[in-house]
């Protein structure tokens, strides 16, 4: 009601100074590739807007003559004078910033972070920015770059998993062209599923998530694939130490439609085959990714996109053990421009993640299969209501099917019985509306509400479990029957106040609700970690986050300083009983779980140099993350595993000459909280370890320097290529990957701690080309 009132005041205010107004709308594109540009700024003087995720913009101004400026990351500023005496449709094409000039300028990000936008806790990266950062084995990786940002922490050495503001790895919503990616890692987590060649834009929300996003507590990582060049055919590719990639794109009909196909495959297993070591050469280990996209313009008002991703990992140990896993996603989207102020997008999305295990060991041959699949329909409207109000509203409906585990004997001789855990069905609905209101020249407010309903559907058995994890009652539901529906309102509020030309302060509050939970009880993320939906016992996880921030552009907008502080409260967090068996052959997974709460708070700083030969940033996070769960540490608050006090990253890139650029990054963080034994005792004629406290110790602090260099080879008219060199962990720090305890090998009368370090001085070279 209050919002309606505000809206009424707004509209009322509008008539107050009735002046003839017209709207400029259209899309911003790259001139060379025809790719639409996300987040391009379109402005004239103080009035301005940014293009949405499909490149669309709408700007309403009083009648008059204007000098319109449009710009984006890595693009030259486009200026155009317009006479606004009627509504205009404008298709703006931006040229890529020329690198051939003597004074090389590189814009590492949009020149000024939007001081006026109320959105905070946001980081945006384009593949251009990812390009120069040295990485493990030369595989450019968006997830590893994201980890260098303040408030985002790596899940481990060389790992693509990440933690945001104290949240667990499963509390990140990872979207690829709007489709949820349930397992974003390949090969034991060392690589992400995102082939950087296929990616256009990466946006990370650490807090203050806009209302169109929901379903995870900590963060949203929204990844958009390239659409494909609609001007010209283009082939690019790369050959690195462990993988090769190829990208083909081009117009189907020039200006109207385009396609893109990108593939990547690792060939580390080829090296394993060459090895004489029989422990290696009979094993198989590889992954591949395939991204494909097609888009078509039906006139000026309609555009259709079809995109898909398919990736798979295959791992085999001789003939006895096989494990493969992978994601598949498909998205069909239809953009429709109802008017120069109303933009609509309809998406139909399928997400799938599954794994297969096969064990062949004589009489016990069997296969295990598990899957999570979503059918998802989204509708969103963006209504550029008035020059001061930008409204977004829509709904989202997802049907989840989880097959927690299906064990099947592989042949008649197998002693393993057929064991199918019950499929779990659920229906997740969200409706939302959010408005960004330019309340005054200095104050901008985004307010919105998302309401999510999560319905658990039959058929299946649901349970009551007592305090000891014993099942006390079983309730059976029929097919399609509603077991339980959780309805949660999620208010979102963000305010910005511009202090002056170069600085602003912002504050936000957001509530997030999560109904899918990942059960993972090992130090390494595993493809067999189990997704479970909320049940009558597993309640929706809820987080409330408040944050404040200060933003300052320095020295003619060449530098920027950001500081944010947050406090997050989390309810209904899931943990494990001592000795829990997540792979139990029972539908009552709840018998293995404990529930409690969490809190996280911290301060994040980033100092960034955005232009010039030298670009980069220094980010530092000071934070604390704790949990309180009855049944663990006597119900006291204790450090969560991902609690790290200090986290620092220095990222630097320097353009030496037209041919050479060098880069480096240095990372330091406090070790994770970890459980170490407090003592030892003897049982069954062996020394075993005695634990008194969960996460009572810390891993040693972690630090690492990576170096990189890019050599741009001779450019021909249509052909360009480059060589990229990198050295991971350049000073060979032995960072602890795990610490284990055992009876000493030298002196059986003693016990010792053993540190395993994985990556030390990993050099790599890769060759990339484009024509």
């Amino acid at each position: 009601m209050k919002q309606l009132f505000i809206l009424w005041c707004m509209l009322g205010g509008l008539t107050g100074y009735a002046q003839e107004k017209f709207t400029i709308s259209g899309t911003v594109k790259s001139k060379r590739t025809g790719e639409t540009i996300i987040g391009a700024s379109v402005r004239s003087g103080n009035a301005g807007t940014t293009s949405n995720e499909y490149g669309f913009f709408s700007l309403t101004l009083p009648k008059g003559n204007y000098l319109l400026e449009a710009g984006a990351v890595g693009m030259a500023l486009h200026t155009q004078s317009i006479v606004l005496d009627k509504n205009l449709t404008l298709h703006i094409s931006l040229e890529e910033e020329a690198k051939t000039l003597d004074n090389v300028t590189i814009v590492a990000s949009s020149k000024s972070r939007s001081l006026s936008s109320p959105q905070m806790g946001i980081e945006r990266l384009t593949t251009k920015e990812i390009k120069n950062i040295p990485v493990l084995l030369g595989e450019r990786d968006v997830l590893k770059t994201v980890q260098l940002l303040p408030g985002v922490k790596s899940a481990g050495d060389g790992n693509s998993g990440f933690f945001v503001r104290g949240g667990a790895a499963d509390q990140n919503l990872i979207l690829l062209d709007e489709a949820t990616v349930y397992n974003a890692s390949h090969l034991l987590g060392f690589f992400s599923t995102f082939n950087s060649d296929a990616i256009k834009d990466v946006t990370v929300y650490k807090g203050g998530m806009p209302a169109q996003y929901g379903g995870r507590l900590s963060s949203v990582l929204d990844i958009k694939m390239n659409d494909g060049n609609n001007q010209d055919y283009s082939v690019s590719g790369g050959i690195g130490l462990i993988s090769a990639k190829l990208n083909v794109e081009g117009p189907v009909q020039k200006d109207r439609s385009s396609f893109l196909v990108t593939g990547r495959r690792t060939y580390a297993d080829m090296f394993l085959k060459l090895s004489n070591d029989s422990t290696l050469n009979r094993n198989t280990l590889y992954f591949y990714d395939l991204n494909a996209k097609l888009n078509y313009n039906f006139g000026d008002k309609d555009r259709l996109y079809v995109s898909g991703y398919f990736g798979k990992d295959v791992l085999k140990a001789g003939d006895t053990f096989g494990l493969d896993w992978g994601n598949a996603t498909g998205t069909v989207r239809w953009n429709h421009i109802f008017s120069n102020k109303l933009f609509s997008n309809t998406s139909f999305i399928i997400s799938n993640y599954n794994y297969n295990i096969s064990i062949r060991s004589g009489a016990n041959d069997f296969n295990i299969f598990s899957q999570i699949r979503d059918w998802n329909l989204k509708q969103e409207f963006q209504w550029y209501l008035t020059p001061r109000n930008n409204l977004r509203f829509g709904f989202n409906s997802v049907y989840h099917i989880i097959r927690p585990g299906e064990v099947r004997p592989a042949n008649d001789q197998s002693s393993i019985n057929l064991a199918l855990l019950q499929r779990r069905y659920s229906w997740e609905n969200g409706i939302y509306a959010t408005n960004t209101w330019k309340a005054s020249d200095k104050v901008n407010i985004t307010y919105g509400l998302r309401i999510t309903g999560f319905s658990i559907l039959g058929e299946g058995d649901f349970f009551e479990v007592d305090g000891n994890g014993k099942v006390t009652d079983t309730m059976s539901y029929k097919k399609g029957e509603f077991v339980k529906t959780y309805i949660n309102p999620e208010p979102r509020l963000a305010v910005s106040y511009q202090l002056n030309e170069t600085s602003s302060v912002k504050a936000s509050y957001v509530r997030n609700v999560q109904n899918l939970h990942l059960l993972s009880n090992s130090t390494t993320a595993s493809p067999t970690d189990k997704w479970v939906a909320s049940t009558n016992i597993i309640k929706p996880e809820i987080s409330d986050q408040v944050a404040i921030g200060y933003y300052k552009n320095l020295w003619d907008n060449n530098y920027e300083l950001t500081a944010e502080a947050y406090y997050k409260d989390m309810q209904n967090q899931v943990d494990y009983r001592d000795g829990a068996d997540v792979f139990i052959n029972s539908d009552a997974i709840e018998s293995q779980l404990l529930f409690g709460k969490g809190r996280a708070y911290g301060l994040e700083w980033q100092f960034k140099k955005k232009t010039g030969k030298l670009t980069g940033w220094l980010s530092y996070t000071l934070s604390k993350t704790e949990k309180q769960i009855n049944g663990i540490n006597n119900g006291r608050w204790y450090n969560a595993r991902q609690d790290r006090t200090h986290d620092l990253a220095l990222v630097v890139s320097y353009q030496l000459s037209k041919k050479w650029s060098v880069s480096g990054n240095w990372i330091y963080y406090t070790g994770n909280a970890v459980t170490f034994p407090a003592g030892k005792y003897r049982v069954d004629d062996q020394v075993v370890f005695y634990y008194t406290e969960r996460n009572g110790y810390r891993m040693p602090s972690y630090h690492r320097l990576d170096l990189g260099a890019t050599w741009t080879l001779k450019q021909r008219k249509r052909f360009s290529s480059e060589l990229t060199f990198s050295l991971y962990n350049a000073y060979g720090r032995e960072n602890a990957y795990t610490i284990s305890f055992r009876e000493s090998e030298d002196d059986p009368n003693k016990t010792e701690a053993v540190r395993l370090a994985l990556f030390k001085f990993i050099p790599s070279v890769s060759y990339n080309f484009k024509f």
């Binding site: 090296f271 002693s415 001592d578 459980t675 170490f676 003592g679 000493s744 370090a757 001085f761």
Partner: protein
């Protein structure tokens, strides 16, 4: 198990890079001593044994002295109670007690004013049909492996443990199995673990295997012993003590089980 295989592949991959293992110093806090009770009763005569000791600090040596002077009894569900005598410091035994399948036994330990109790039922005996050796491939090695064959009775709830001796030396590895996935079937258990560094079995060696039919609570103890990091490896994100069936706050377990032994000489 598949999880373990997967995690064991990690070092294999890391070897392909430059992983390295190093003994390091870690300063671990000293800890208040806790009692450790290991009670065993089988269906063989004179087998009742209870070991009582205490925890030590990590930096101490591995000599664990027994706790003397405890009052230890085992009572059967028929009402009989047998006191165990201390035959060595911390070792309490009785030759008078023989366990029987189907009976529930309760252990009571009193020491230093504290009382610890536990109970376990000896399940019906399931026959070990055969013990034989096969040559198996795992992680690039062909190894001789002991196989135990038995027929699981219908109805879920059976739990087993196997103890392997090579030339009379007991192997440390814990082999357990229940019938969650193999109920009512002719079952085969291979006594090896993926990626382990066991003693290799060679021609001429004598392999002795004991098959124990154990209480499900004791299975749970060994299961959590293996998954919870009691042996010090750190795959678990939250290492914890095994889930004990002893009440009163002691570590360890009380197992009442059947026992059957077979031997084979490697050709």
């Amino acid at each position: 198990m598949w999880r373990k295989i997967y995690l064991n592949l990690l070092p294999v991959i890391a070897v392909a890079f430059t992983s390295c293992e190093k003994v390091i110093d870690i300063d671990l806090n000293d800890v208040e001593k806790k009692y450790v009770i290991e009670g065993v009763l089988t269906d063989e005569a004179g087998s009742a044994t209870v070991l009582i000791s205490q925890t030590k600090n990590f930096s101490d040596n591995n000599e664990f002295t027994g706790v003397t002077g405890a009052a230890v009894t085992i009572s059967g569900s028929d009402g009989s109670t047998t006191a165990l005598e201390e035959v060595q410091p911390g070792v309490y035994q009785s030759t008078a007690l023989t366990g029987e399948s189907g009976k529930k036994y309760s252990l009571s330990v009193e020491t230093d004013g504290k009382t610890f109790t536990a109970s376990a039922t000896i399940p019906a005996k399931v026959n070990m049909d055969s013990l034989y050796i096969t040559e198996d491939y795992l992680f690039g090695e062909i190894r001789k492996t002991a196989n135990v064959q038995f027929k699981d009775p219908p109805g879920r709830g059976q739990s087993y443990r196997f103890i392997q001796y090579i030339n009379g030396v007991k192997e440390k590895r814990i082999f357990i199995r229940n019938d969650d996935y193999t109920d009512g079937n002719s079952s085969l258990v291979k006594l090896r673990s993926p990626g382990d560094g066991d003693e290799e079995i060679k021609a001429g060696d004598t392999i002795k295997v004991q098959m124990l039919c154990i209480d499900p609570a004791v299975y749970n103890y060994w299961y959590s012993f293996l998954s919870g990091g009691a042996s010090g490896d750190s795959n678990s994100a939250s290492p914890a003590n095994p889930v004990s069936n002893i009440n009163g706050g002691a570590l360890g377990y009380f197992s009442a089980h059947t026992l059957q032994t077979k031997e084979v000489v490697i050709q």
